[in-house]
Symmetry: D2
Subunit: 373 residues, 4 copies
Amino acid sequence: MATRPAPADTRSSPSIGMLGYGFMGRAHSNAYRSMALNLWPAGIAPELSVIAGRSADVVAEAATRYGFAAYTTDWRDIVNDPTIQVFDNVGPDETHVEPTLAAIAAGKNVICEKPLSWSALEANELAAAAEAAGVKSLTCFNYRFVPAVRLTRDLVRSGELGEIFTASFRYAQEWRTDSSSWLPTRSGALNVIGCHAVDLAHFILGDIADVSGVITAPVTDASRGEPVDTVTSLARFASGAVGTIGATLIAPGRRNHLTFEISGSKGTACWDLENLNNLMVFRRDGSEVNGFAQEIVCESHHEIAKEWWPTGHILGWEHSHINMLAHFLQAVAEGTEVGPDAATFRDGARAADVAEAITSSAGSGHRTPVVYG
Amino acid sequence: MATRPAPADTRSSPSIGMLGYGFMGRAHSNAYRSMALNLWPAGIAPELSVIAGRSADVVAEAATRYGFAAYTTDWRDIVNDPTIQVFDNVGPDETHVEPTLAAIAAGKNVICEKPLSWSALEANELAAAAEAAGVKSLTCFNYRFVPAVRLTRDLVRSGELGEIFTASFRYAQEWRTDSSSWLPTRSGALNVIGCHAVDLAHFILGDIADVSGVITAPVTDASRGEPVDTVTSLARFASGAVGTIGATLIAPGRRNHLTFEISGSKGTACWDLENLNNLMVFRRDGSEVNGFAQEIVCESHHEIAKEWWPTGHILGWEHSHINMLAHFLQAVAEGTEVGPDAATFRDGARAADVAEAITSSAGSGHRTPVVYG
Amino acid sequence: MATRPAPADTRSSPSIGMLGYGFMGRAHSNAYRSMALNLWPAGIAPELSVIAGRSADVVAEAATRYGFAAYTTDWRDIVNDPTIQVFDNVGPDETHVEPTLAAIAAGKNVICEKPLSWSALEANELAAAAEAAGVKSLTCFNYRFVPAVRLTRDLVRSGELGEIFTASFRYAQEWRTDSSSWLPTRSGALNVIGCHAVDLAHFILGDIADVSGVITAPVTDASRGEPVDTVTSLARFASGAVGTIGATLIAPGRRNHLTFEISGSKGTACWDLENLNNLMVFRRDGSEVNGFAQEIVCESHHEIAKEWWPTGHILGWEHSHINMLAHFLQAVAEGTEVGPDAATFRDGARAADVAEAITSSAGSGHRTPVVYG
Amino acid sequence: MATRPAPADTRSSPSIGMLGYGFMGRAHSNAYRSMALNLWPAGIAPELSVIAGRSADVVAEAATRYGFAAYTTDWRDIVNDPTIQVFDNVGPDETHVEPTLAAIAAGKNVICEKPLSWSALEANELAAAAEAAGVKSLTCFNYRFVPAVRLTRDLVRSGELGEIFTASFRYAQEWRTDSSSWLPTRSGALNVIGCHAVDLAHFILGDIADVSGVITAPVTDASRGEPVDTVTSLARFASGAVGTIGATLIAPGRRNHLTFEISGSKGTACWDLENLNNLMVFRRDGSEVNGFAQEIVCESHHEIAKEWWPTGHILGWEHSHINMLAHFLQAVAEGTEVGPDAATFRDGARAADVAEAITSSAGSGHRTPVVYG
């Protein structure tokens, strides 16, 4: 036979408008393009319509690079474009609230990078707005879509670890020990990375009843003259479990060390983002050899991982974004729920509520209830 | 301003014709699409032109999924298409030789999955043909493009590990311990995965002088009635180093365990594909704390990794293909060399030469020189 | 020549009276006998004089087994024996205070297993009594004598890790998840094992300014009908460092998991009692390979380890007792100081002060100052 | 009651004569003294009678330090002493054969450090002599008495790992990369440390049918002008398993890295002397989490470990000697068998037979049968 044109792609193709083009702009664009190929069964082939950014030159190049059909320097062009279904906000923290509220008001489904806002009040405003408008929302707590994290959630939910007694969640990096870091210091460690630790706590263990926090700022960023803080806290969960939640950007050698350790009456699970494919799991089984199992969560029976490569062909950091965004676009296309597998704006607001309680407790020195919503 | 169309992509866009659409077809297609976005500085935006496969239905769907403009059931349509610059052969092993030779004869630059052939004679024929035709060739020994592997090669080349004394290379999987595996058993472990171990030995340490091999087939695949073999060998390198090279598909618990350990007068390096971002490196420095450094080879000063995400955002298996294929297409576009960073068909033939010597030695029980070319 | 009698042992031979004969009785007796052989340069050959215990039969057998010359069922026989120089109290917690105070009153040098007392008041009374009497005292915080722990203290003290920002200390075991455990439940996790974590915090980082604690008792020991607790706390150190201190006996899979992680401006150190010979140390050195060094702290230049076997012949748990007790007996024999390398009764009291503050804070929900002494 | 003398120790007290007083002299003396205390149920309280060595001053001090009643500069004094039941030869390699043969001739039970001899002929002569004389013999392959090694042997023997397909055994150290090492270079790596790897292969997998070896001497010891070698070999076991056996003293960073990896149809086990308490075990069980279990082989149900401390209180290197020598003295006292748990002189000779076959194959380049006995 002669060469024939490929059949048309008849899959759902939600139209995306993106605000921002930095690190996260690339990660999301990569996700949209990868999912159409790699997550074929999901039936989603996103259409990259418009990308917005402040600098015309840079955003124009980003449009070409990331594969967007068009660009603009005014995010309102996206909000006002009736053909766009999804507003994806990957801009700097200070651009999260106003444009996203405008997109919700325009009936867009909305994606926003974490943290929704440094203010719990604003974060809750975003959640309430999305709920009231009946649009789908996604807070980019992408680590929920690491196969080992999903497996942990499932092990806890199914009771395989028993009643949970203790848990620790911590995000440690070394990025601000180097004063030449591009990372801004204005927002504290809790906003920059700690919210991921809080969200994993919510995802795996549920509501937090109260917290006790300590925040110190032991160093000053040389180039900016701003204090660099570090956060530690105790959390009592509504379930009765107790634990710690921490975040620091001044831990030398910790490249990207988001970790947890969760122990229940029947077992323990430990994870580290730097080896994200592995989960250490102990379950008492009474056998002669009964240590921690070092599981490579990359097999055909593991959720998320099963959509990728053959066993042992490990995934990287970016895959969490690919699967998270595909999950969201499926929810948009098929009307299914975003949560609890993914984090909605409500989950983003809940993380901000916890951050606020930790900050308050750090100031008062008192154990402080978490007031959600 | 109003929304404007994205500027045209003016980068080099080599036209690709692909034979095959399975696991590797997806990995390569993913690579072509990812590199245009993620490896922007490489200046390559491949054009996916035609994909060929035996079954019209399946290849048509693959064309749509992978993003090829057209499909065919006859690979000769690709060979005969004068607009196609690169012939990428990801078909089953038995389709490697004839189509690739035809593509070379038609002046295409050629990519072929490993092993080039189960026969060293044929593999050398392919290498000679590509060289005679003056086309660029690539054998898909993708692990050369894992950042930790590249770093090891560089540490050896720069003398940071000193004179190399001992080295072991081994690829162990468990896939054939499960008789329901999709993996065919006709080709031995040496062809299926062992060639990767041999190529890493070449890449890092250079020519092998002679080998001593043992091949046994301790089990029979229940569903196919075929023997399943396991291979172990000693290698003496031209440099004077000595070591072992092994391959087995019947090692329970080894999901994808390609490993090496290399010791020289000044240091030792160890790597494992199951944690591909990590390299364990010991260098004697006389300090009080002088153990193996557990390096996450994912930082801005690490070759290959530096083109990806911020420090500690680890890469997955597929990234080795993305960077390997981008390197090759750059060589095609800019006329630069494929080797030694990537493996040419000559390197593919050299791996086959070593496999033949190991097989011969396993039969004779004698230490056997490796005859290259 | 003919066989000749061995020369007399002219080393210092302090006379030991021991109260108790269980797990710790064996560990100490083993230490006394081992040090004479293995720590020959220390010049100490202890004389095991009298062992006391409640049951005549059992203590008589212990005397023979452990090598004591005599036994008694009344510890006052030891206190009243003027030839005995050292009173070693390894009895159950409830026998720590009265006999030890009596021994101090009789002018004995005193050793007491941890915790000195469940009451900070009593622990301070012991410390004050020993100080007033001018006798040497030792609280058996034996982990100070693990080579990797000593190295950490020295790295911190010499500034090699820079200004310390964050630190966590935690002792986790699984022993009480099994209700058939021999371990009593009356004393909480803080007394049974948590005091070791507190002492390591003191040893390495110094005074703790205040703490915030949470104590829960999520399970009830089936056989005893007693609650089993778990403890987590935040600590602010006088130095400005912040961290967590925890203790739990209900962490499945944690056999003996006393751990710390300490980060300063220049580096990070991590340790785990389950692999007690290893220390993971990161120090930023700007080299191409700059990950955590996995140091086996068992070489000829490492304090404590250097007295033992050739490099890489690892030590076990019991060695911490051997070196600790040898250090104390040297101090007795030579009039040198017990601290800061070993823990005196003052250090035992300080650990009790912290435990009391944690317990108080757990009750009040307020950050609570540690009041030492 | 008043203080009473300890009851007499009525346990079996075999009388020991020792030749040598270096590193191994201390390790054995430590073992004899420790076992009486720690392995009380074994019922052995050795009597340290005479120690022999070349230098009167040094051996006299050793006698005092190690606790021997007497010393001599002539080992014949031990052989001729009718009260001595056990001749323990821990002298340098060149003193192994003649004194041990004399001790056997005198009817002593005999212990000899490894290797029995650098000559397989002499090693077999020793084995034959001990067998003919009907005395108990022990070759000090102490690693058989590491709990994790014993567990591995038992897992293989009970079939829990299935039919064994592949196995590697390797002893790597870095000691001769430092030319100031005290370690002599005359004997090759196979004699100094490789024999331990060979014995573990025998202990766990049984007879070796044939070997293929490579021995190179890539460096010259600067201070002695002697070549320093490194050994690698392939082994085919009588059982059908295949594997590698290696030994090197020039692997930087390898402090004491005796390792094995054994895979059968049902599972895989890996071990490393540098973390001797741990065993990594994979057994396919079909559960959702089915990775390698990191077992701390230090629990009350583990052979050897169960005689020591509570769970998780890890053992050190010296414990292998304590348990090995206690096992031997029990065999002497009770007339039980030394093997297969411990290595007899026959096992020592078998290791020498394998070393000879590897050396022969390294010279000829041919696969070479192992001829035992």
